[in-house]
Amino acid sequence: MVDAGRSSQKTREKFAEFAATRDPALRDDLVTAHLGLAHQLARRFVNRGESYDDLVQVASMAIVKSVDRFDPDRGVEFSTFATRTVLGELKRHFRDKGWAVRAPRRIQELYLELGQTVGSLSQELGRSPTVAELAAATGASEESVLEALEAGQGYRTSSIDAPDRQEETLAERIGGEDPTFGNVDDRSILAPALARLAPREQTILRLRFADGLTQSEIASRIGVSQMHVSRLLAASLERLRQEFVEDS
């Protein structure tokens, strides 16, 4: 993480400049430089059925908001501030969409009702409401409110049941665009390693991790079976992993 300190200083200087000049071109540069974070967080919360593109969009807009609102004098790292903002927007996105997956009907309905009640109570109270307040406002029990909030957490992180955690971690490195954010060392090993793969393998990796396509989508795109894509992916990832192990 040798470069982290230097790039953090550069970023701070750019933000100070932006605060002074409000130059839109500089703003765009700052946003673009941190889009990798948007992609990483969006990927973290891809739910079955929730479009990755939608999440990237919400996350990207949140990065724009973060750049607009960030105060470099506050002593917080921009990436922490931005992560907080992006997570906040993603949470709101899921809440607004009323996701309540695999829950009994009454819980789904309660969840939708809670969505609005949380909003109005937050405004009224000037803070986020407690579970007790929500229960009182909706007439439901506290247990039901907690259950509904849990059911509504439609997002899943790249969780324990992810097909391959290694896949996800590599996805973040390949798909992320921001060299100042991720592990700089890994990226410099990764690029040449990727280049050593056959063109079709590179294409599949790009489609899978940078463009976020599913294996079936890739299969129909390149005209092979999904099982074949799965095997090619596993083989490519294994080859890349070997290179990492050798170099580290």
């Binding site: 967080l41 907080r84 937050s122 803070r127 909030l149 955690r165 290694q166």
Partner: protein, 138 residues
């Protein structure tokens, strides 16, 4: 600044313990317990959601797709905060490498809670977090 190192000790308050097998369909129990303890500690729903996400991150930083075993949680409720620890107890061979939380995990935890860290480097590491209650709810 957080991310590494031992948890500053907390004393007093009430402790709830939970141990679950490392199975995707049971991790929900870790979240529900966090939510209930936080709710009984007077946290607002936004903070509760943050804790839910943070608990998930704790698990992720300790466990990989091919790990088997159990996750031991302790939830401590004190006057002004909730402290959660999570220890992975591996079973079988699985992935022998010790997991280190990746950088995204650290950023997410920085964004969600006030302090967090990790005790130990071996496979049986403990990850912990602490979140303080916003004062205005009580």
């Amino acid at each position: 600044m957080s991310g590494n190192g031992s948890m500053p000790p907390a004393a007093g308050g009430d402790v709830v313990e939970l141990t679950i097998p490392v199975k995707a369909d049971l991790v929900v129990l870790a979240r529900l317990t966090a939510a209930t303890v936080a709710s009984r500690a007077g946290f607002g729903v936004e903070e509760i959601e943050d804790l839910r996400l943070a608990v998930e991150e704790l698990c992720l930083s300790l466990v990989g797709a091919d790990d088997n075993g159990r996750l031991r949680f302790a939830y401590r409720r004190t006057d002004d905060a909730v402290t959660i620890t999570c220890t992975f107890e591996p079973e079988g061979t699985g992935n022998q490498e010790a997991r280190t939380g990746d950088e995204l995990s650290l950023r997410i935890l920085d964004a969600l809670v006030d302090e967090h860290g990790r005790n130990g480097d071996g496979r049986e590491a403990t990850a912990w977090l602490r979140k303080r209650r916003a004062r205005s709810t009580l």
